[in-house]
């Protein structure tokens, strides 16, 4: 039997570390383990995925987990972004764990499996560790408890090991250990049915010569980068207070992503599909006409 866990979060929320803590904890229990992150847009706020597999026998699997037994979601706002792939394979997952205040509205909104469990890690992480985005330990503790195969002692040793590897000071590690215990003891353990490495059935397609245009990696309609919604990486949202704005145009000139245009009257209009939330505009605005609104809770 192999248990497959897939972790989702945003860059900076500790998703890779969560997968490692669970990996190390399972390793300390004596299981065969494999864990790995996927590196993509390695930046703050962008969607990040990591995996942990563990089981009694050698793990004859590698790479991404398409059909996890457990999906662990550090940031509920990722559900709104299909490109983050949070729901991939949820049909066969035994459970979904959401870091959220309550599961019900999200289950309805995103047609999640009814076996979705929510727990507000952000609030407790903020209270105990002092940093709302430091979710790694909470996510790992929730996972360890839900899968039911990792005792608290091994979880805590793994938390200590992994945080030491990241050179966290002893005080911060102690707070994280408290958080781990609290989360671990607040959640139930679930039954995970044994199953083989499940796959989406696929058909083979043969590849023939398709001509120069279709056979070479050129782009004819340029400018399609617009279709990549980098606004999904945003943690904070800049908002212009038009009462105060003097139309100086500085923010329009300096936005590193070209996400600001000027309307007919010279007022800045922010393109939220592409604004990455760097908040440079806010810093630059000479009259403080740009305000910041937090969009992601765990930050």
């Amino acid at each position: 039997m192999v248990l497959r866990i897939r972790f989702h979060g945003r860059g900076g929320q500790g998703v890779k570390t969560a997968s490692r803590i669970v990996g190390t904890a399972a390793f300390l229990v004596g299981y065969q383990v494999q864990d790995s992150p996927v590196y993509g847009a390695e930046r703050r706020g962008a969607a990040v995925v990591a995996f942990t597999r563990f089981g009694e026998e050698a793990i004859l699997e590698r790479g991404v987990i398409e059909h996890p037994d457990l999906i662990v979601v550090g940031d509920e706002t990722l559900l709104a972004n299909p490109a983050a792939g949070v729901m991939v394979g949820q049909e066969t997952a035994t459970a979904i764990f959401l870091n959220a205040e309550s599961a019900q509205p999200l289950v309805e909104q995103y047609a999640l499996s009814p076996s979705t469990i929510a727990w507000d890690l952000t609030r407790r992480t903020q209270a105990i560790v002092g940093v709302a985005s430091a979710l790694s330990v909470g996510l790992a503790a929730a996972t360890a408890r839900l899968v039911g195969l990792i005792p608290e002692a091994q979880l805590l040793s793994a938390v200590r090991r992994e945080l030491m590897e990241l050179h966290l000071p002893e005080g911060a590690i102690a707070k994280n250990l408290d958080l781990a215990s609290e989360v671990f003891n607040a959640l139930p353990s679930l039954e995970f049915p044994l199953r083989d490495g499940q796959e989406t059935p696929q058909k083979i397609s043969s590849v023939l010569y398709e001509g120069l245009l279709r056979g070479s990696p050129s782009i004819l309609n340029t400018g399609n980068a617009e279709q990549r919604q980098t606004g999904a990486w945003r943690l904070e949202r800049p908002e212009v207070n038009f009462e105060q704005c003097t139309r100086c145009g500085l923010c329009f000139l300096q936005c590193p992503d070209g996400a600001i245009t000027l309307d007919q009257n010279g007022y800045p209009i922010i393109d939220y599909d592409h604004c990455k939330g760097c908040m440079l505009c806010q810093t630059l605005c000479p009259v403080q006409a740009i305000l910041s609104k937090q969009e992601v809770r765990s930050w």
Binding site: V33, Q202, I204, S205, N224
Partner: protein
Amino acid sequence: MVRMLLTGNAAAAWGARLADIDYVPAFPITPQTEIIESLAAWFADGTLQGKFVTLDSEHAMMTAAGAAAATGVRTFTATSSQGLLYAMEALYTIAGWRAPLVLVNVSRGLSAPITLGPDHNDVLAARDTGFVQIHAETCQEVLDSILMAFHIAEDSRVWAPVLVNLDGFYLSFTRESVDIPDEAAVRSFLPAYQPKHPVFRASQPMAQGVAVLDSSIYSYFRYQLHRAVENAGPVHAEVSARFQAQFGRPYGAIETYDTDDAETLLVMAGSFATKGKAAVRHWRRQGKRVGLVRLRLIRPLPVRELTEVLSGRRAVAVLDQSLSPGLGGILYHEIAAALAASPQRPQVLRSFIGGLGGKDISQAEFDYLLEELETVKATPYFGQPELLFTERDRARVRQQLALAGKSPEGG
């Protein structure tokens, strides 16, 4: 011995650390950088004694590595993909010098189009350089192979550089359980480096890598290099016997998985062989007599071992994670050539290409491969290499081509 979870990159760094390396010339490239970062940290905090130098390119890095090895110090370096190709001139050069060092390559598909995922076109481009080539499947094998590689490189019968390959992402960034052997045990397996041949030393003038304008002399030295790399076959066998005696883990030039009674065999290399083993396990449960052969030593090519294990089988598929345009799978052609002299060679030897740029190989693709072997629709040898590709892959391509403004019909 300590058992830990290590990434393939960390296992590579541990291998170098335990080998007590003296010199590391370094240049970063994804997905290799973690190896030199780990080594840099150990040199900085005094765990490793010796010299860690950052160079300005892979070409300079490889040249520095060869020059250092020529002075008789134990030398380690690592690169990947475009970096390996940029160093290509130096690879031939230092192999020609007979500089015994260890180079780790973290496989990554070659540009263009640019990618980060692994395949073996990069490392197989180095197959004619005069480097011995070992391909690892697991993080443990990465560490173990580096220890063995120094042994092989420094053996007087070889005295040539050794390349250890691991796949990017699938091994480089994946943690698995790894036994880190004790330093004392490693020292007894791989003693401190004592070159038995003349090397550059102060007040001991000599010349290496000299110009040879005479073609007979050139031919002679290149052929000597061939003999040396050939010798690495039996030396590998000896070294792995010693390794097994000391650490308990066996490493053949090839690894066989469920081959004993198999009528059909699948040949693979690298970390994707794990997926191949899962496919074999799946087929075995259906009562099919299928096995897998993993090529670990690629230079020298273990012709005898391959011939022995593949001969007498009904059908064999070589699943290459590489593609030589105009020819097909690189290992397929090497294996077909190796089998030419065997009267019992398999009736069917088919070529499949999979996992290019790290594309996953699903069970459906493995099933297709087996079905093709069983039905033998095409020529039994040297037919068109078939790309393992699914409708889903096709849909992704279609979507991207549309984005790029290409018509759906072709042209």
